[in-house]
Subunit: 210 residues, 2 copies
């Protein structure tokens, strides 16, 4: 085996400074934790041009499964393409309810009426899963795309999600989240694109992109 990485030695003064700083930090941290008392089902939005929006949603689903909860997934846009996580969720049997309602990327279907009908069917499925009290977390994958292209009525979608039952967490993914959805959300993360391997000619690879 190779050598472990070297880690610089610590002198007493440095150790004491570090301890003092961390004691202060711990006090702040403990106070902040104590101030937070509310429990609620969150409306979470993952948006932005960077990679990781759906991936983080499925990571949350995994965490919820680890905590014993059931998870529902409705995919609004992607069709057969993205299957790595779907395969993996099979290990959890009926604790993951998965519905791929989209018919593929909008530039593949090229059929607006069909895309709209598919989105309406997908949202009907969302209402059904929202009413299912065995489900703790709902992933609405690429719903932002369906909203952006006006496949669905924005006001109707936002008010439906805002009226979720108290314990239900909902994660919405996709670029260009609508401001009305952001306003209704509890947690919004913008995935920023700093650097992408596609720009360097690297192709989509199994286990990474799909």
């Amino acid at each position: 085996m190779s050598e472990p990485v070297s880690s610089p030695a610590v002198d007493d003064a440095e150790a004491a400074r570090h301890r003092a700083k961390m004691e202060k930090r711990k006090a702040v941290q403990d106070r902040e934790v104590a101030e937070k008392t509310i429990e609620k089902g969150l409306l979470i939005v993952h948006t932005g041009p960077g990679k990781g929006k759906s991936t983080a949603a499925f990571g949350l689903a995994l965490r919820m499964l680890g905590r014993g909860g059931r998870v529902g997934v409705v995919q609004f846009i992607k069709g057969a393409w993205q299957t790595g996580e779907q395969e993996a969720f099979a290990a959890f049997g009926d604790r993951v309810v998965w519905h791929t309602m989209g018919e593929g990327f909008t530039w593949e279907t090229q059929d607006l009426a069909r895309d709209r009908a598919a989105a309406a069917r997908a949202f009907a499925k969302v209402r059904e899963l929202m009413a299912d009290e065995t489900i703790a977390l709902l992933v609405l994958d690429e719903l932002n795309i369906a909203l952006r292209y006006e496949y669905l009525d924005l006001g109707e979608v936002v008010s439906t999600l805002a009226a979720r039952r108290p314990g239900l967490h909902v994660v919405v993914t996709g670029r260009n989240a609508k401001p009305e959805l952001v306003a209704a959300a509890d947690l919004v993360t913008e995935m920023g694109l700093v650097k992408h391997h596609f720009s360097a000619g690297v192709k989509a690879q199994a286990g990474i992109e799909f």
Copy 2:
């Protein structure tokens, strides 16, 4: 069951405009896909102040598991705290190799020498897993924190990761990624904090934060 969301009707002219636009988009998309031919193990960095860095890394791990790959995880900072995903990965048996090498948050240990020693042990484990050819993806959770606090030698870490075997994907998470690591990476996503429920007094909840 409740009514499906209304979706506006499409007239012929609108449908034709949409089709033409999407045909053009598909041509661009197909050309871009055709231009990307390189396959390589990626060095991926999830950084930034927003939520989702580790979550997206575990989502990638899940995707890789769905594609039949084995996954290694080394946690540099967090100790016993974050266990939802760890529990869930148990469903995949020895296809996930998990090492929690950190001794908890830096403000909990308050011991610089101990934190540095733990980081050095963790990186020795990373070298071991990098050499294991059965592993397709390696998650180095919160390595950025260990680098930020100079628990490890930055140059040594970056050159070790840059020298990974060709097929190995490595994901590094944590705030404040070092520019040298970003320079060496293929894919860098900055998770931006748009809105966080902690600010509204909501506490950390099982299945969401841990």
